[in-house]
Symmetry: C2
Subunit: 132 residues, 2 copies
DNA sequence: GCAATACTTAAGTGAATGCTTCAACATTCA
DNA sequence: TGAATGTTGAAGCATTCACTTAAGTATTGC
C-alpha cells in the first residue's frame, strides 16, 4: 500500500511514533480518532484540559505521522494514519519474534546437551551451538 | 498538579511499556536483549555512556516489565520478557484494526449513498450514518 | 587480607515535556 | 456589519528526563 508520496527522508519515524504513543492523553486521542475523523475542538471535548494543550498533543501526533489533518474553512479535521502505527507494531513484533526464535535455539541446544530432560528429541541431527 | 483524574485511569502497564520503548537507547538495549540474556556491564558495552546511565535505563525497562533480571553472585543478568511487549503490540494493533473496520463501514456507506457520483444532493441522508 | 570486578546509590544539571493563560486570526452566520 | 465559532501562537512555569560525577557495597580471585 502506497501512502504519502513525498518519499521524504524521515528523521526517525519509529522514535517519534513511540514517543507520541507514550503519553496517555495522546493515546486516548488516538483511540478517539480510531473511531473516525473529527475536528480539533471535537477531539478536545472529552479531555479535561485546554484546547491549547490538545493542539500541542496533536502537533506531536502529527509530527510522528500517526495523525494527519487538513483544514477546510475554519475547521481542521484530523484522522488517523494507520501506516505510522504499523511501524511501531512491526518493531515490537520483530523483537518478540527474535526472542522466541532464540528460545527455540535454546530448546534445541538443551535437547542436544541434556537429552535426559528431553523426552523425544534425542535423534535430532547435531547442529552448531546457538550463540548465547 | 494532578493529571486528569477522570474516570479512565489506566493501571499503567501499557503506559510504562510505551514510555520505556520511546527512548532510542532503551530500544537498542531491547534489541541487544532480544538476542539473549546478558549481564549489566555486557549490556552497557555497545553504548557510549556511563554504566550509571545504562542502569537507569535498565530500571525503566524493568519497571515497565519489558526486562527482568536476577542477580547471582555479583553479576546481574537481564533478559527480555516478551509478554510485556505483547501488551504494546496489541494496543497498537487494535487501534489499527478499529480504524480499518471503520473504513469498511465508510465504504459501505458510500456505496449506498453515492453509487455513481456524489456531485449533488449527498446532503440528504435517508439512511443512518455509520457511527462517526 | 587486598585488590580487582560488578554493580548500586545519591546528588546535580541542562534540556525537554505537559500544561497554563492571554492574545491574535480567519471563517461563518444573523 | 459585527458577533460567534474554530483554530493558532507565544510566553511562562513546574515537573520529568537523560544524562553526569562521585561515592558507596558486595563478590571474586590471588
Amino acid at each position: 500500500m502506497l501512502q504519502h508520496s513525498t518519499a521524504t527522508i524521515e528523521p526517525a519515524p519509529l522514535d517519534r511514533v513511540l514517543q507520541a504513543l507514550a503519553d496517555p492523553t495522546r493515546r486516548r486521542m488516538v483511540e478517539v480518532l480510531s473511531e473516525g475523523p473529527v475536528s480539533v475542538s471535537e477531539l478536545a471535548k472529552p479531555f479535561d484540559m485546554t484546547l491549547s494543550a490538545i493542539v500541542q498533543h496533536l502537533a506531536v501526533l502529527e509530527s510522528s505521522g500517526v495523525v494527519r489533518s487538513e483544514k477546510v474553512g475554519r475547521v481542521r479535521t484530523c484522522r488517523l494514519d494507520p501506516a505510522a502505527l504499523d511501524t511501531a507494531e512491526q518493531w515490537v513484533h520483530q523483537r518478540r519474534a527474535e526472542w522466541e526464535r532464540r528460545f527455540d535455539r535454546l530448546d534445541q541446544f538443551l535437547a542436544r546437551t541434556a537429552p535426559a530432560a528431553a523426552e523425544q528429541d534425542a535423534s535430532k541431527s547435531p547442529k552448531k551451538e546457538p550463540s548465547p
